[in-house]
């Protein structure tokens, strides 16, 4: 195995592109679902102690066990309870639940970090708590955690690399296919790494763009 030999990998680049696309869309859908779960949990944490405890249990269990194990539980474990999900569905559910736990914490922190001043001002103006949450708290909260959100998305994207374990044909899986076809393992993974870095960078840019348009107020300082 002396010398690098990229031609075998290059000629199968379409596999990598297809894998990258799977990675992107599954991660994207899971991120959105995860955000919803995270938001719901973040709000629920503020409800009362029992609810808070339930949410914290969920968060701690997910954060302290490997995603791969969670994935196996969903894909191989649930059928023994009569719930049979396709690899892609399992992947999306697994990733969303996984991401949701992290996002819940981040969003909670964002909500807690909204300065009390504007909230008091809103109360002084007679607004009710639901209005205050929706109109005054949410947007600044999201704005302040946006870097963390985008970081979490990148981590989610990377976690999706484990999905090939349950036969989802994502980027790492495609890399594995190529390496078994070409028997040029290192070359295949140089490409895979390159694709991930491209995706990561691309997503960071997109997120930065979203931040600049949606949270314009943050970037207008004097």
């Amino acid at each position: 195995m002396n010398g690098l030999e990229f031609s075998g990998t290059l000629s199968r680049i379409d596999l990598l592109i297809a894998g990258a696309w799977t990675t992107v869309w599954i991660s994207g859908v899971s991120m959105v679902l995860g955000l919803l779960i995270g938001l719901a949990c973040a709000v629920a944490m503020g409800v009362n102690r029992p609810v808070r405890l339930i949410v914290l249990t969920y968060i701690e269990i997910i954060r302290n066990t490997p995603f791969l194990v969670q994935l196996f539980v969903v894909y191989f474990g649930l059928p023994s309870l009569g719930i049979r999900l396709s690899p892609v569905t399992s992947a999306i559910i697994g990733l969303s639940i996984y991401g949701g736990a992290y996002l819940a914490e981040i969003i909670r922190a964002g909500i807690d970090n909204v300065p009390p001043g504007p909230i008091e001002a809103a109360r002084a103006l007679g607004m009710r708590s639901t209005t205050i949450f929706g109109s005054i708290v949410l947007k600044p909260a999201l704005a302040s955690i946006f870097p963390a959100l985008s970081g979490q998305f990148v981590l989610l994207l990377q976690s999706s690399s484990l999905l090939s374990a349950i036969s989802v044909a994502e980027l790492t899986g495609a890399g594995n296919d190529i390496q078994s076809l070409t028997v040029r393992n290192f070359e295949a993974f140089v490409f895979v790494a390159g694709f991930y870095i491209l995706l990561t960078t691309g997503f960071r840019l997109i997120f930065a763009g979203i931040a600049r348009t949606s949270f314009r107020f943050k970037y207008l300082g004097r």
Binding site: A121, A124, G126, T131, K139, R216
Partner: protein
């Protein structure tokens, strides 16, 4: 429900009000009656309970003992009474507390829209009206972070005014401003004061107190120590505490 005097109802009536933060008693037996249209300046050393009192009037804090009436209606734990107190009062904070994610105009419109259900157009017109009153209509589409401190505070005043409160409460509205901006905000307030809305203002701007206030309320350690017209208060304070306080204020 209200102990109405003959003629006009007092804007604010406080009787033996107590307020605790946990163990700590922040207000002790505070009594004060403010007539409608009156201008009150509240002063006193740090921690004396000035903010606490003003926040109680706005029902941002709940008092524990005594009685508080705003426009003749008692403020209790009851949601409706709290809403009524907030409707009657407008609050301007030391640190402006504008909504950072909304433009100046949106800041002035949101409460009208969400609390009063005013239409978009009406809310906008009223907001622009008050922005003109505080002399910054041209800043309407900027975000707070693009404004100077003085301008931000004037937006905060306009925002409060948009709810047409009977009583304006100011909590050290100029103390977070650079010297050059203090003047523009004080001028704005002075102008508004001339128009007859009731005003309660915590401030240490003695010049302002002299020229605007009907009465100065001096607080210390959670109590109202002295209440007097400004001239009397500044030239011949009665209590020892006020004397030393004034001496320090003027170095």
């Amino acid at each position: 429900m209200s102990t109405q005097n003959a003629g006009a109802v007092p804007a604010v009536e406080i009787e033996q009000m107590d307020k605790y933060y946990g163990q700590f008693q922040s207000l002790t037996g505070v009594s004060l009656t403010i007539s409608q249209g009156e201008k009150i300046v509240v002063c006193g050393p740090s921690g004396s309970g000035k903010s606490t009192m003003i926040r109680c009037i706005n029902a941002l804090e709940q008092h524990e003992g005594g009685k508080l009436m705003v426009l003749g209606r008692e403020v209790t734990k009851d949601r409706a009474s709290i809403d009524a107190a907030r409707k009657a009062t407008g609050m301007v904070f030391q640190s402006f507390n504008l909504f950072p994610h909304m433009t100046v105009l949106e800041n002035c419109m949101i409460a009208q829209r969400k609390v009063k259900g005013t239409s978009q157009k009406e809310a906008r017109d009223l907001a622009l009206h008050y922005l003109e009153r505080v002399r910054i209509p041209e800043q309407a589409d900027k975000y707070p972070s693009q404004l100077s401190g003085g301008q931000q505070q004037r937006v905060a005043i306009a925002r409060a005014l948009c709810m047409k409160p009977a009583i304006m409460l100011y909590d050290e509205p100029t103390s977070a401003l650079d010297p050059e901006m203090v003047k523009e905000v004080l001028d704005t307030m002075l102008e508004l004061a001339k128009e007859g809305t009731t005003m309660v203002c915590v401030t240490h701007e003695m010049g302002f107190a002299r020229s605007v206030a009907d009465r100065v309320v001096f607080m210390d350690k959670g109590r109202v120590v002295e209440t007097a017209p400004p001239k009397e208060f500044f030239d011949s304070p009665q209590s020892e505490r006020a004397k030393t306080f004034l001496a320090q204020m003027l170095h």
